[in-house]
Subunit: 350 residues, 2 copies
C-alpha cells in the first residue's frame, strides 16, 4: 500500500495494451492509420530538425533488442523493440515494443506506452506514405507476401491512404493466409488468397513483402517483378535478413528512410556502400522526385526509423489529452524538496 | 475498462517509486547498499562477458537525456536517465531515471522499475566499492562536498561498506547541509557541518565531491588535497562538467569505470586522450593493483556505467520474487495466436 500518495510530478501517463486497443477501436483503424500517416508526413517535412542516429542494437543468436532514440529539440522519444522470429513457437510475438516521449527542457517523461500495436500501425502508415508518392497512379491491387502480424495493417493502410481495393495474399503457411482472410472480412477490401508468391504478384501494382525469418531469403526473384511495380519491402530489417533478389534492387529506383541505418539493415546491405538511394523524407518534402515514369520499378526498402515512432508517440500523446485511455504511473520520485530524496525515503518509513 | 483481460505474457512487473521505497525501507538502506555493492562486484568480476558501449546521449542547452544499455548474453538491461541541473528551481529532480531488464532469448521485458532512487543507491554503492579497494586502510572520516540528493546515500554507503564513522559536510547552500544533517540524525554517523570545502577536507581520508552544476567548476583546488587521500569524484559526469583542478588529476592514480565513456564525460576530459588510467573492474577482479602506498592520492573518476544499473536491476528483479513490491503492467500485446495481432484488436472491439 502506498504510504505517501505520489506527488503530481511523479506521475507519467501510461497507455497499456488495453488502452491502446480502446484508442484504436474508438478512433477506427483506418482513420488512425490516416492520422498517423499525417503525423509522419509532418515530421518527415521537418527532417532536418531531428537528431538522428542508427538504432542501438544488441544482437544475440535468437534475435535483437534495439533502442531507437530521436529528438526534435523540444520533444525526445525512444522506442524499445525486439525482433525474435522463433518467439511465435512459444506463443510470443516476434516483435514487441514500448516507447517513451519526454520533455527535452526537463528530461521528464510525458508518456509511456505499449508500442507493439502502435509499431504495427506506424509501420503500415509509413509504407502507405511511401506508396502515396511512389506507387503508379491509380494503383488498386496489392500483393502481400507474408501474412503474419503486419499483414492486415498493411492492407488497411493502403486502402485508407492509397486507394487499394484488392489484396492478394500469400504465405508459406496457409493458416496465416486464412487468418488474414478471416480478419479482413467486412473491411471492404476484396481479398484473394493465392497458392504462390508468383500468383499473388499477378495483376498487382504494389507488392508488399513482410516475412519474418532472420536470414537471407529470396521471397521475390527477378522474373516475378514486372516493370512499373512499386515494391514495399518491410521484412528485411536487420543485418543478414533480406527478402529480395539482388537483381531486383539493381533495376529499381530505391527509396530509404535513413541511409546510415538502411545500409546496415535493409535490402541494400546486398549492394555496395555507395550505391545511390533516395531519401523518402526528401520526396515527402518536395525536395526529391518520387516516381517519374509509369514503367519504373520503385522500391521502398523500409527498416523502420526512430522518427516514425516519434510521430506515433506524439500522436498518442495528443490523443490521450481528449480520452481516458491511460493510467497515471508512479514512475518518478517527487520529494517535497528536490534535493531531499533521502528524506522522502525516511518519511515513507515513518 | 479492459474488455479482454491481459494474457499472462503481456504482464511485466512494475516497481513504482512507492514500491521501491517499501523495498528499501523493508530491507534497510545500509543492507540494501551492501547488497547492491555485492551484485556490482559480482558483475565487475565478469566484466568481459558484457556488451559495452558509451551511453547514447541527447544533449540540449538545459541538460541531457541518456540511454544506457548493456547485456551479459542472458539478460539485457537499459536505463533512461536525465540530468537537468535547473530542474530543482521548479521542484523537479536534477536526475530521474527508470530502467528495464529483459530476457535476451525472447527480447521480452522482465522488469520495469523506477530508478531515481535506485540510481542514487547504486551510485553510492559503486563509490563505496571503489573506496573499499582504494581508500587508505582504516579510513574513518569522509568529506562530502555537495549536499544534494546524493549526499546521504554516499554517507550511508561508506558507513556500511568502508567503515566510515564521521562525515564532514559542505555545500555552497547551507540549507542543503542542514537537510543532510537532519536526515543523518540517528544514522550512527558523526556529522560535522563545515563552513568551507577546505574545512570539510581537514582530517578526512576520503573526499567525495557530488555537485550538480553543468559546467567546468573547481570544487577542489590542488592545495586542498593532501597526500594519501582517496578522492571520489561523482559530480563531473558529462561533457563540459568537471569538479577537480587539473593539477590534482596529474598527481593522482586515476581509476575509472569504462574509459571510452569517462574520457568524454569524466574529470579526465581535462587530460590528453591517452593519459593512463586504471579500470576499477580489474582491481575488483584482482587483475590490477588498487592503492599500493599510503601516500598515494587515488581518484575514482566516476561517471556511472550501464553495468552498475544492470547489477541494480538484477538485484531488484531477484528481490521482488520474495516481496509484493510490484504491480503487473499490461505492457506487451499477447494475442491468442502470435500472428493474430489484428484479430486481437477486432475481438476487443466486439
Amino acid at each position: 500500500m502506498p504510504l505517501i500518495p505520489p506527488g503530481p510530478l511523479s506521475l507519467v501517463p501510461f497507455v497499456s495494451v488495453q488502452h491502446m486497443m480502446q484508442l484504436v477501436n474508438a478512433t477506427g483503424v483506418e482513420r488512425m492509420l490516416a492520422d498517423l500517416a499525417a503525423y509522419i508526413e509532418e515530421d518527415f517535412r521537418r527532417w532536418d530538425r531531428f537528431d538522428k542516429t542508427p538504432r542501438v542494437a544488441s544482437h544475440s543468436s535468437d534475435g535483437v533488442i534495439e533502442l531507437m532514440p530521436t529528438s526534435d529539440g523540444d520533444i525526445y522519444a525512444f522506442k524499445y523493440v525486439n525482433g525474435h522470429p522463433k518467439n511465435t513457437r512459444a506463443g510470443r510475438q516476434t516483435v514487441t515494443a514500448f516507447g517513451v516521449l519526454s520533455d527535452v527542457a526537463t528530461g521528464y517523461p510525458l508518456l509511456l506506452t505499449e508500442m507493439t500495436l502502435l509499431t504495427a500501425l506506424r509501420t503500415a502508415a509509413t509504407s502507405a506514405v511511401a506508396a502515396k508518392y511512389l506507387a503508379p497512379a491509380g494503383s488498386r491491387v496489392m500483393a502481400i507476401i507474408g501474412n503474419g502480424a503486419q499483414c492486415e495493417f498493411q492492407a488497411l493502410a493502403f486502402k485508407a491512404i492509397c486507394g487499394i481495393d484488392t489484396v492478394r495474399l500469400y504465405d508459406i503457411d496457409p493458416t496465416a493466409t486464412a487468418k488474414a482472410l478471416q480478419n479482413l472480412r467486412g473491411s471492404g477490401l476484396t481479398v484473394v488468397p493465392c497458392a504462390s508468391a508468383e500468383q499473388a504478384v499477378e495483376g498487382s501494382q504494389v507488392v508488399t513483402t513482410c516475412t519474418a525469418d532472420k536470414q537471407y531469403a529470396t521471397i521475390l526473384t527477378d522474373n516475378m517483378v514486372g516493370a512499373g511495380i512499386h515494391l514495399n519491402a518491410i521484412g528485411g530489417d536487420c543485418p543478414g535478413k533480406t527478402e529480395l533478389h539482388r537483381d531486383i534492387l539493381l533495376r529499381s529506383v530505391i527509396f530509404v528512410e535513413y541511409p546510415p541505418q538502411t545500409r546496415i539493415e535493409g535490402e541494400i546491405q546486398q549492394l555496395p556502400e555507395d550505391y545511390p538511394v533516395a531519401e523518402l523524407w526528401q520526396v515527402v518534402a518536395g525536395m526529391a522526385a518520387g516516381r517519374t515514369d509509369r514503367r519504373q520499378t520503385t522500391l521502398f526498402d523500409s527498416v523502420g526509423f526512430a522518427i516514425e515512432d516519434f510521430s506515433a508517440l506524439r500522436y498518442v500523446h495528443d490523443r490521450i489529452k481528449e480520452t481516458a485511455d491511460y493510467t497515471p504511473l508512479d514512475l518518478l520520485a517527487d520529494p517535497d524538496e528536490p534535493r531531499d530524496l533521502y528524506g522522502m525515503l525516511l518519511r515513507a518509513a515513518a
